[in-house]
Each structure stands twice: as structure tokens, then as C-alpha cells.
């Protein structure tokens, strides 16, 4: 997937987020931060901060593992804090997540099923030695936005009748954003609500084995070239 496609997906996710508190997962979701309305959306990071600011200038900031105290959920990437930020321990951080207090999370996905199941952490047949905070994020956030390429790197569909990869959580996805389309779950049914004009409904269906309905108000949009945003 090209950088510009990733940025398009991130930008499109950001359009879903106009206020509130959001946790962004790793991968494409990290890019979403650049497109959020300034000051209206506050970012939470599970390692213990509400009010994540931009990364410090790498030319001015040297990471010393012995003394660094402010990083994002990677555990190693330095960040800054916004003026309204607060810090807390892991228990309170996961109270925010599991307890239903996040307005949304944007999370990368390996597969999503037509019932909103999410697979994002493991691949069958491989050792499963890490899960992190993904399951808590997805179980608790008021909205779960899956940000993903429409097809796998091998060209296989990822939006399926049922996930074949190990689940992160059942029935929790609220919105799927890919480079071709946006799907939303309403009362347990999956709807196509937006697609780009460069493909047909039939082509989309072919790439999307999950059963879904086409929303009455389906929007057909031009995929804009986003490119790297200019950081202010």
C-alpha cells in the first residue's frame, strides 16, 4: 500500500472524529492524528496520558532509555503533552478504555466480519506472543473504527462473512474505512455508506465477500490525494 493510500485512509478516519477523546492504534491509525481538528479531539495513550501532543523535533531530542519519561504506547517513541494533559497509572488508563469512556478508537485490522468481529492481533499457525492493549480498547471504546487496506498484501479479501484469524473481540466494529469504501454497522447489519468513484459496485462486491447492504444515502466520492500533511 502506498503512502498516499495510507494517508487517505487516515484522513478519512479523521473525518469521523470531530470531538471527544480518541485512542489511536499503531500503523495507519497513528497517521490519523495529523488530520484531526486542532484542540477538539484529545488523544489518549494507554501507557498513561490523556492529551498527547506531537512528537518532539528529533533533531533536538535525544532518547535516553535511562531517563526518558514521556513516550507513546510504543514505549519508546517520545511525544509531547498538550496544555490540558494529565498522567495516570495503567489501572486508570484501562479504566478509561475498558470502562467505556473513550469516544472512539481507530485500530488497524487484519480482518473484519459482517457481524463486526475484529481480528487484529494474530495469524493462524504463528506463535502468539503479544496482544497488548488491543482487546481492552476494542471492548470498551464507544466507537471502533477499523482502518485497513481493503485487501491483504497477497490480494486476499479482509472483509469477510466470518473472520478466519483469531479474534480481538466479537461484534465491536462500528465503522470500516478502506481506500475504496466506508462501511458502518447499524443494528447488527453492515451497510456500505461510501465508496470511491474509481470502482463499480460490482468490483467492490468482488473484493468484499461479507454480505452488506448498500445504504440508501450511499455517497460516491473522489479519492483525494492527501500526501503528507504540513505540520503546524
Amino acid at each position: 500500500m502506498s503512502g498516499s493510500v495510507k494517508h487517505y485512509i487516515a484522513w478519512r478516519c479523521a473525518q469521523e472524529l470531530q470531538s471527544g477523546v480518541v485512542n489511536l492504534g499503531i500503523g495507519i491509525p497513528t497517521l490519523v492524528a495529523d488530520y484531526l481538528p486542532k484542540g477538539l479531539v484529545t488523544l489518549h495513550s494507554e501507557n498513561g496520558i490523556l492529551g498527547v501532543g506531537p512528537e518532539p523535533d528529533p533533531n533536538e531530542f535525544v532518547v535516553d532509555p535511562e531517563s526518558i519519561e514521556l513516550v507513546n504506547a510504543s514505549g519508546v517513541q517520545p511525544i509531547t503533552a498538550l496544555p490540558h494533559a494529565s498522567y495516570f497509572d495503567s489501572s486508570l488508563s484501562f479504566t478509561i478504555m475498558r470502562g467505556g469512556h473513550l469516544d472512539a478508537t481507530v485500530i488497524g485490522a487484519l480482518q473484519v466480519s459482517e457481524t463486526g468481529d475484529l481480528a487484529s492481533w494474530a495469524v493462524p499457525g504463528k506463535d502468539v506472543l503479544g496482544v497488548g492493549g488491543a482487546m481492552d480498547l476494542v471492548i470498551g471504546a464507544k466507537r471502533v473504527i477499523a482502518a485497513m487496506s481493503h485487501l491483504s498484501p497477497k490480494g486476499e479479501p479482509k472483509i469477510l462473512p466470518e473472520c478466519t484469524y483469531p479474534l480481538t473481540a466479537k461484534n465491536r466494529v462500528d465503522t470500516i474505512v478502506t481506500e475504496y469504501a466506508v462501511f458502518k454497522f447499524r443494528e447488527g447489519r453492515m451497510y456500505l455508506v461510501e465508496m470511491v468513484d474509481e470502482i463499480s459496485l460490482e468490483q467492490l462486491k468482488e473484493m468484499t465477500p461479507a454480505s452488506y447492504e448498500v445504504a440508501e444515502d450511499l455517497k460516491v466520492v473522489k479519492r483525494e490525494s492527501i500526501g503528507d500533511p504540513v505540520l503546524v
Binding site: 495529523d34 486542532k38 501532543g53 490540558h84 495516570f88 479504566t95 478509561i96 475498558r98
Partner: protein
Amino acid sequence: MSATLDQIQTGVQFLSADEAVKKIPKAASIMVGGFGFPGMPRHLSRALVEQTDIDELTLIMNSLGSVSTLNALFEQNRIKKVIGSFFSTNKDLVKAYREGKVEIELLPQGTLTEAIRLGGAGIPAFFTPTAAGTDLAKGKETRVINGREHVLEHSLTADVAIIRAHKADKAGNLVYRKTAQNFNPAMATAAKLTIVEVDEIVEIGELNPDEIMTPFIFVDIVVKREEV
């Protein structure tokens, strides 16, 4: 996302006590902070007493002292049930209970505080050794874990929390002082609508981010206390 001070909007509202209690629905469950005097939201309590069309209430609070501002609610016959740990010394409540007007659910204080904290954390039930083998475990599921009897307790959430803090900043972050913390931070996490009264409202950036005890995500409405 390099938002500056004037761009930050968290959605936390700053209202008067009267405006704030108007947001409380009829028949609401309400958590009320405080342990004795410290941390008790007396300013919001007075406003609630005056807002007489909100009734059939369930109160979740540690105790109700005999001089509590909320006692008028019993005289007004607006309380259906109270859940907490210590009500013996409140004559109004004991009278209402004996007359069958109020239901009381008694929990050990540590079970109460953990039920609230876990309610806010999305964990709906837990096994505690407290009260095992006592009358307060009657009718509750028990299980021997690590060779010791435990009681299954269900967590608590509420429609509304009315709490008290020392300071809020204009984002809605809170700090407490001394023994006035008590149940307030946990209750802030466990209600759909959290209303907090504070002594002082300060600018964003004036609170040390390491010292903020309740991040704004748990706060809906901030009310500045007025002198009594």
C-alpha cells in the same frame, strides 16, 4: 495536533448548581461523594433538595450523617432506595426505613468503594473475602478461592454522580485535597453524568499534569461553589 491553549475544547460544561441539577433525570440513581464532611458536595446537595420535581431517587453513598444537607430528601419522600455502608445514626433515614418508605442495601465500605471503582472500569463482578460467613453475604454466591471463602459482589454504576473536588481547570481536570478525596475519584468514573462542585476554577495549564487525579474525560459539568 499541536493545539494551543485557546483551541482546546473538551466539551466539559461550566454551569450554576441550579442549572446542573436540572440535568438529573427523574428516578435517577445518584452517587454522592464524601466521607462525613470532607468531599461532600453540599452545594449541589442543596440545589438538589430545592429541585423538588426530581424524585424516586436511588442514592449510592458511603453514609448519610444526621446533619447532611440531603436529609431533606427523606422528609420530601423523594428517595426510593439507598445503597451504602453506614446509615445507623441518621434518624430521618432510620424513620423512613421503619415506615417502609425507603429500601436500604448495606455493603461493607471496602466492597462499596471497589464496586464503584470496578463499575467505572467496566468490570461487573468480583470475588471478595469481605463479609464471607456473615449476614451481609446472605443470598450471595460464594466460592472458595486460594482456600478461603469469598463472596461474589456486583459492581455499581449510576445515572449521575455528584461529587466535590478542590480545583478544576477549564478543561475539566480535577484535583482533591487531604481526606476530601475519599469516594469522589471513583464515583467520577462510574456515572453517565458526572457533576462536580469545586472551590476554584483555574486556567488550563495551571494544574500540574502529574497531580491531576481525575482527568476531564470523567467529568461532564463543573459548578463553582458559592459562599454560604
